[in-house]
């Protein structure tokens, strides 16, 4: 047996949450030791556990990370008011962790009151990262600026902020000099430039500065000159009438930014100003031009100089020719993201096809992560990609028109995606699109043993598809499905699997109210949330499909902050023993056919 000090020292090397979780299961003394020295807590679903339970177990926490709404909330599929309120957490951790240093929230509702509590409760507060959050205003930001004396990081990523005033930035006191990272790219309102300049000037440790659209291009050189130590810079609107003096100053400022490794911003680009960044291209490891609506030649000229690029985010304006240049020039590329410039248009004016992705997969041997929007795909291209890049860990392909087949053979894309999961053995994340039958799910269930997250849309023929995934994907934790003909059978047959996953989302599928209720009744470790906004929803028969269902494992029971369109199914004690409950159970059991029964035998015995 090791003395405590030794154990503690050993544990200090365990940084990943999974490692720590595993260590805590070894024995009771390890559990105890681990919980006292855990400094960072990650809660992937804020409704999976109660804040008090977390606090009781981990008394010495310095960093809390929480996630709220399901991923599909990013695409407007989760109605407003669903939940994800961080307030109860903030109140508890403010009381329990006075020395908390970091809070990271994703897809949560954060109010000004929450921010005020944060600002006033933690003496040594250092890091605030809010990603895809909403519910707060610039007043909340002002409170943070005014009170967090030791703040290092204020990172607002794609938040919806009520912009009452741009003066929040001026609330950072003159004595405040600890800023290392400021990301205000998602804000629309103008901040006082002189306040910003003074803030930058008195922040010698500032490494990340991402401006918002309102900072004009003429002012960029001033800021760059004030912060030659910057590593990560996001411009504001990158447009102006072409003026030689502005251009020269900007180009000069960039050339002096020897530490710059990451560039982003570039809204409303005036192409003539793009060459100003040429001098830093060879230093860049990350480049985000996805707001730059400029054509392929301009983009190609830039990427051709980015020899050290590891991450590229760009619009489909780059076209196949631009990606071909990427494949030849960016030999260190790890991640490629190509967004569509015109997401809603059927006609294609941009020459980006599957070929661009195939080129990059050929030329960039370190490519691991892909998010690619395009209009056509073929099985042979997917097979090539999988053979070129068996080291892929994240493959997300969105063919913009739903259910589109292989454009060459007109067959489904089953074989192509099958090849991806078969060859890319380390694949942890997959999103599919195009015409797909149950067959692709058979491939996935058979081969995708390391798959952690799967996104499916407009695919499959029957419950067999869902059954393959739930029964075959051993590592699956997050499954999100929309508009697929998957229903009750596969769900109920694999009910126990759901407790091994973080969550399952199904919308516009064929899962009935009855099945949701049954699942909720039989699985106390799951919350089965039916999200349905139809007016007549209370009078619908139980065999009617729900609009949306969100199922997640939880140790804290049902939540009580639900709006009227969310029903947590099967938690009323009466349902469990009623005749209706048994009738529904028998109905489903008799339809089970080839699937192994799961909870049915238990319900019969009631």
């Amino acid at each position: 047996m090791f003395p405590e000090e030794v154990l503690e020292h050993v544990f200090s090397f365990l940084n990943s949450h999974t490692d720590r979780n595993t260590a805590s299961l070894v024995c009771k003394s390890w559990y105890e030791m681990e919980r006292w020295c855990r400094k960072r807590v990650f809660i992937g679903n804020c409704y999976a556990v109660n804040p008090r339970v977390v606090i009781r177990r981990f008394p010495e926490v310095k960093s809390v990370e929480l996630k709220g709404k399901p991923h599909f909330a990013d695409f407007n599929l989760v109605p407003e008011g669903w939940g994800g309120y961080v307030y109860p957490w903030i109140v508890e951790i403010a009381r329990a962790y006075p020395w908390l240093e970091e809070i990271r929230l994703k897809r949560m509702v954060v109010t000004d009151e929450c921010l005020e509590i944060v600002a006033k409760s933690f003496r040594n507060f250092r890091v605030l990262v809010l990603e895809s959050c909403e519910g707060f205003s610039t007043d909340g930001l002002a409170a943070v600026a005014a009170n967090c004396r030791n703040l290092r990081v204020l990172d607002l990523r794609e938040c919806e902020v009520e912009e009452l005033s741009g003066h929040w930035l001026s609330h950072f006191p003159d004595s405040f000099t600890s800023l290392e990272s400021l990301n205000m790219a998602c804000l629309g309102s103008e901040v006082s430039f002189s306040a910003l300049e003074r803030l930058v000037a008195r922040s010698p440790n500032l490494k990340t500065l991402r401006l918002n659209r309102t900072v004009p291009i003429e002012k960029l050189s001033t800021l760059l000159q004030r912060a030659p130590q910057l590593v990560d810079f996001g411009t504001g609107a990158y447009s102006a009438e072409i003026r030689q003096d502005v251009y020269s100053r900007l180009a000069d400022a960039f050339s002096r930014s020897k530490n710059l490794k990451s560039l982003s911003g570039f809204w409303d680009v005036t192409p003539a100003y793009l060459p100003a960044i040429y001098s830093v291209c060879s230093q860049l490891t990350s480049l985000n031009l996805s707001y730059a609506a400029t054509r392929s030649p301009d983009l190609t000229k830039i990427v051709s100089q980015c020899y050290n690029l590891q991450r590229l985010v760009v619009l489909d304006y780059i076209e196949d020719t631009g990606l071909n240049t990427v494949s030849m020039s960016c030999k260190d590329l790890r991640e490629l993201v190509v967004f569509p410039s015109d997401p809603f248009v059927g006609e294609v004016d941009v020459l980006l096809t599957e070929q661009g992705l195939v080129s990059v997969s050929q030329g960039c041997s370190k490519l691991q992560s892909v998010l690619y929007f395009c209009h056509q795909m073929s099985n042979s291209a997917l097979i090539s990609i999988s053979k070129n890049r068996p080291n892929l860990t994240c493959f997300r392909l969105c063919i913009i028109e739903p259910r589109v087949p292989d454009y060459v053979t007109h067959e489904p894309l089953d074989v192509g995606f099958g090849s991806i999961v078969e060859n890319c053995k380390q694949l942890t994340r997959l999103s599919m699109s195009g015409l797909l039958t149950d067959r692709v799910f058979e491939y996935i269930g058979t081969h995708a043993k390391n798959l952690d997250m799967l996104s499916i849309a407009f695919a499959g023929d029957s419950d067999l598809g869902l059954h393959h995934v739930l029964s075959g994907c051993d590592s699956l934790r997050k499954l999100e499905i929309r508009d697929c003909p998957f229903g009750d059978k596969a769900l109920l047959a694999n009910a126990s699997k759901l407790e091994k996953m973080r969550s399952l989302w199904m919308s516009s599928c064929l899962v009935s109210f009855g099945a949701c209720k049954l699942l909720g009744q039989k699985m106390p470790g799951l919350n089965v949330e039916v999200i349905d906004e139809r007016e007549n929803v209370n009078s619908l028969p139980e065999y009617v499909p729900v609009e949306k269902v969100y199922i997640y494992r939880t140790v804290s029971g049902q939540r009580f902050d639900t709006p009227d369109f969310v029903r947590i199914m099967g938690k009323d004690k009466d349902d469990l023993f009623s005749d209706k409950g048994l009738k529904v159970a028998v109905l489903f059991c008799s339809n089970f056919g080839t699937f192994r029964p799961c909870c049915c035998t238990r319900s019969r015995s009631l």
Binding site: S290, A457, S508
Partner: protein, 146 residues
């Protein structure tokens, strides 16, 4: 989160009787009534491009010529929310009243007609197609005097 399509009124039609009759086909699209009066199918939440990104429309500067005016102008049509705003914008640009009204009324009595060149190179009357479709397909504008 606001409506995902800018400037359009969303009228939703839901199919599917409460009898589970639609076991196979489920309506996936929303019918959208546009400013131009046409119906366009827009699938909710598809393609899966983050809401934040959808709000960023690429600037679309197109050349605008007006009969009798030797110098061409350029206007960013993506910053207008609809045809009436475009009309007002053009009026301001050329300091000339009546263009917007002509676009709306289209009854032959106005002095001006605004036409645009689309992606296929054809000259079309401004105002026929839904606004967003117009923004994507318009390559240049011309204000003709009758």
């Amino acid at each position: 989160m606001g409506p995902q399509v800018i400037g359009l009124e969303i009228t939703e039609l839901r199919l599917g009787l409460p009898g589970g009759g639609d076991s196979g086909e489920r309506r996936v699209k929303k019918r959208v009534i546009s400013e131009g009066g046409q119906e366009v199918d827009v699938v909710v939440g598809w393609p899966p491009v983050g809401l934040y990104r959808k709000n960023v429309v690429a600037k679309l500067y197109v050349k605008v010529s007006m009969d009798g005016v030797p110098i061409l102008r350029k206007v960013d049509i993506s910053c207008f929310k609809g045809y009436s705003e475009l009309g007002m914008g053009l009026e301001k640009l050329f300091d000339c009243y009546g263009i917007g009204q002509a676009m709306e009324e289209d009854n032959g009595s106005c002095e001006y007609t605004t036409i645009y060149e689309d992606k296929d190179g054809d000259w079309m009357l401004v105002g026929d197609v839904p606004w967003l479709m117009f923004v994507e397909t318009c390559k240049r504008l011309r204000i003709k005097r009758r």
